[in-house]
Symmetry: C2
Subunit: 205 residues, 2 copies
């Protein structure tokens, strides 16, 4: 079986490698759009857009028609008081988001879409799920927020922080899967893959 990660994120690639999977990375340009306001629905919708676009691309290539394929799509967002926080527009925007997140908890959602197509078959089996993790911040002073933002680390990240980096000094704790906050809930993913492939012993993953 060929596993394809439909994401260019280096953090997702690292996590999937970490749990021992071999895979290729193929991405497709999609317009990221969801009708929903519900964070869990939004991330599942966007993960589906990414995975479907990649499977469609593959469909045109002869080499991918003779083997089983599993395409993995993922999307992660940060949510606070029901408001979705994306990547910051600029440093001032990053400061505002961190002012909102400090000294309290918020939610991180990763939605996933798995498309499993057996060799020779037309339509894939589709599995969708999401994981939610609560993240709690310590209080941050204005000096600490400005210091962190000027490091540029927040600028390419949803919610304006990376849990793996310097910002760990402000993280009090979490409830849920840590890797879900990084961008890929690999525990849940592995369990869902076992179910999808009918491999309850996990012998072939």
């Amino acid at each position: 079986m060929k596993i394809i990660l439909a994401s260019a994120s280096p953090r997702r690639r690292e996590l999937l490698t970490q749990i021992g999977l071999e895979f290729d990375i193929i991405t497709a340009d999609v317009e990221e759009h969801s009708e929903s306001q519900d964070p869990s629905r939004v991330v599942m919708d966007l993960s589906a857009l990414k995975a479907c676009a990649v499977l469609e691309q593959l469909g045109m290539q002869q080499m991918f028609q003779t083997e089983d394929i599993l395409v993995i799509g993922a999307d992660t967002i940060v949510s606070c008081d029901g408001r979705i926080l994306g990547k910051p527009k600029d440093e001032q925007d990053a400061v505002s988001m961190l002012e909102r997140l400090q000294d309290r908890g918020h939610q991180v959602y990763t939605g996933m879409t798995l498309l499993y197509r057996r060799a020779g078959e037309q339509s894939p089996v589709r599995k969708q799920f999401y994981e939610e993790t609560e993240v709690f911040f310590y209080p941050m002073s204005s000096a600490e927020i400005e210091d962190y933002v000027s490091s540029k680390d927040p600028m390419d990240k949803a919610g304006s922080y990376g849990i793996q980096g310097f910002c760990a000094r402000y993280i009090k704790g979490i409830r849920g899967d840590y890797n879900n906050v990084v961008g890929l809930p690999v525990g849940r993913l592995y369990q869902e893959m076992k179910g999808l492939l009918g491999d309850e012993e996990g012998s072939n993953i």
Copy 2:
């Protein structure tokens, strides 16, 4: 101020570097012993033994008497049903521990001792604390346990697993600080350092 990490653990070094601290590593041989059966007490006792032994060593060296010194000691254990799980003796022991941990939750404790000695002063200010994190495993089949143990990853780790590696495929979630499970609760550590140094703005750490 000179910061000294009294631990040879590469994972602790990495975490402390990650939050932007500059420090030296100095370790001392100590006999790890605690009278207590209470896991939180045990890790605080052992962290104190390590930190005190290092500060004692430094006391004899002229160069460390003319500047402020902060020595950081840490110890981590895994506890399940009140039983402390150390590093496995052999592969069979690792299998037994994982059989015990799978499909349920257990606790990880890291105890820390901070010794802060100002230049020219004899006795250090001492700060002790611990963090507790609950870790939840998915079910693991016998094949999965044997597969993981044969990778050797469990052999040098308390509780026979490393949350950062391959084993992430079996982790359902946690409650508390993730870095505490890795071996150093850097969020709490940074907060305690601010208090100890009287630097509420965090401007000088």
